[in-house]
Symmetry: C2
Subunit: 393 residues, 2 copies
């Protein structure tokens, strides 16, 4: 078994970058060393020696001795620029930037084919769960039906605290931020964008389908109020933000929506910052993966696994694309939802296909009914903070 010594050039030294530094230092058996770390702010105090750092990206991108570029920055446009340039320069790349990857999957796939360099991003999807690797390596021959689950650690932490410790939403959010699971601007998490980026990436590895994140409907937990929480509690249920892609009538349906979960369900046991992914196939039926979905070392460890895989010349095969039976995305399906609103006229009930329950009180109204996902995606009334939905299954 031959192992290369790998020189790393790292972009970014925030939570994940420092997590990577930590796991790299504690790990035997991987021949990789950090050569340079490119950062934005040279004056910020850093926990490691100053000689590692540069503010000039060319110190990494144009250094022929650097084999692998590790991209861990927050700026999506700059991240894409770094990754694309590195691939064009023939360097292998590891990244954990889910948004950048989800928004540029087509281009990033083409660049890998064109320049014959690997681009790995296990850390971008569910941190410590090796889900991309599994979809790539294991399910290529299975008749996959669905990939779904909890893939945002900070909203799951918030929902766990609400349902298990009776915290209110704002306190739970603050705790998640203090623990480093949620960003200072939590919009991407609590509005369900972050899990959408992840499910768009998983969709490609599961079904060979390229989509733009804009095509996929996401609705998070930021509209959740006490009435909804009580609605779930009265039904001995819990609420989970679920990202899903599922084969249906020759197409694939993809969305991120809050679900009311009642009864025995594997996902209801996934707590706090953990993520859980269910993979359903025709033959082996359900597979279930649980692991830490947030935190620097969990993601750092996934990034390090990608670096390690590069020492064995691993690359994604994107077998589902090559199999040429990729499924097209559809939003033309009916969902059973609970829709809560403040007053009559605030939502357009004519958008529903059928309504089976209707509840009215001075402060809260709700209906239960079937609605088309495409209608839901386009519903302006859903943007109103006084309106919330839960998928019922």
């Amino acid at each position: 078994m031959e192992k290369k010594l790998i020189n790393l050039g790292i972009f970014g030294f925030g939570c994940v970058g420092q997590g990577l530094y930590e796991v790299l230092n504690k790990t035997r058996g991987i021949n990789a060393r950090i050569k340079k770390i490119c950062i934005k702010d040279p004056d910020k105090p850093r926990p490691i020696d100053q000689s590692y750092f540069t503010t000039d990206k060319e110190d990494i991108l144009s250094d022929p001795s650097i084999d692998v570029v590790v991209e861990l920055i927050n700026d999506t446009a700059a991240a894409f620029d770094i990754v694309a340039t590195a691939l064009r320069n023939g360097k292998a790349v590891v990244s954990a930037s889910k948004r950048m990857i989800a928004e540029n999957l087509g281009t990033l796939y083409t660049l890998q084919q064109q320049y014959h360099v690997p681009f790995l991003y296990e850390g971008a999807c569910c941190a410590s769960i090796p889900i991309i690797r599994n979809l790539e390596e294991y399910y290529d021959n299975d008749l996959l039906n669905a990939v779904e689950g909890i893939c945002n650690g900070s909203t799951n932490y918030i929902l766990t605290k609400i349902f298990e410790e009776q915290l209110d939403f704002d306190t739970a959010l603050r705790q998640a931020q203090e623990k480093g699971f949620a960003e200072t601007d939590p919009t991407l998490d609590i509005e369900g964008f972050d899990p959408k980026f992840k499910i768009c990436i998983l969709l490609l590895h599961a079904f060979g389908t390229f989509v733009q994140p804009d095509e996929v409907f996401n609705f998070g937990i930021s509209h959740l109020n006490d009435f909804d929480i009580n609605y779930a509690r009265q039904r001995s249920g819990t609420i989970k933000l679920i990202a899903k892609c599922r084969r249906q009538n020759g197409h694939v349906v993809t969305y991120v929506l809050p679900h009311l979960i009642t009864g025995h369900h594997l996902l209801s046991d996934v707590s706090n910052e953990y993520n859980g992914i269910l993979v359903e196939s025709s033959f082996s039926e359900n597979q279930f993966f649980v692991g830490k979905g947030a935190g620097g070392t969990a993601t750092g460890s996934a990034v390090l696994s990608d670096i390690s895989a590069l020492t064995y010349n691993y690359h994604y095969e994107y077998k589902k694309i090559a199999q040429r039976n990729s499924l097209a995305l559809t939003n033309d399906i009916q969902l059973k939802i609970y829709l809560r609103y403040k007053k009559t006229g605030q939502v357009d009930l004519a958008d529903f296909y059928t309504i089976s329950e209707k509840y009215e009180s001075p402060d809260n109204h709700y209906v239960v009914g079937m609605i088309n996902l495409e209608k839901l995606k386009n519903a302006a009334w859903l943007q109103n903070k006084g309106v919330n939905l839960l998928v019922l299954e």
Copy 2:
């Protein structure tokens, strides 16, 4: 992406062989076809065309057009002979024979190195859970602490029926046999040999440690009686047969023992014929994998995944062996156990390190205490059908 067309020669056409035939027929995107199936009994009626079958193993082993030998027979010695011969003949091999593999890991590893041919056996460990692939591919750089869980579908089915449906042991066993999860001779399952073979294989891929199954202590669920079941129920617990390997004081501890599980525990939700494996590492902490652990198509699907991996030239790297920091096995640890017996003198309480609880009634006695695993392994009194143990954690 290049894909080879693979010609398969299959040994055995029982439950797994037929499952493989079924999944192979339903799967697009894998270029493999069955050329020959070697069976023992030519007169047994077969569900597919007679021209597939032969009783002469040389029709497969000496046919240069056959690339991959798939070994799925029950006879351990014959299975080893087939696999070893095939590897020496330069053929890739896929097998699901856990006992044969566990008992011959050293030789099988050496043959792979010597003849540079891959030997894959994901179907031998937890059927549909890609645990070997994950330990191989993903955890090579992590500081692994433990791999443990439920890896015998039939005993888990029996225990689930006992605890969830109040069936008695014999009825539950009969149901498991009727559903095809348990063999006609269920000894290997209910006495914990089958999960021991699996954990011995996982031990190599997790920690790089070669052991003979005889060195590892296994005690199954065949001594379980109503008193034990009530003991667990009274503590709001359940009983699970757990196979475990865990790093401890620079060594690795490995065993298969029934555990009393109380409180919230991921493994307590793994029901029926499902298997569940917890992987604990220093960085990403717990990973949890759940999937079907028994049944022809679950195993057939794992076997097919191995075949598919061969079309991409996949082979196990056995990285932990190459890292040369493999851990030695030890049985020198203390376990906290519940030990139930019928009458004084039936067990040797002097073998205990400490005893913290003692219960006596006309029909049943039990003690709770700490005992050394090596002492337990050598205890002749444990062979008595009237004696049972549960590990308490």
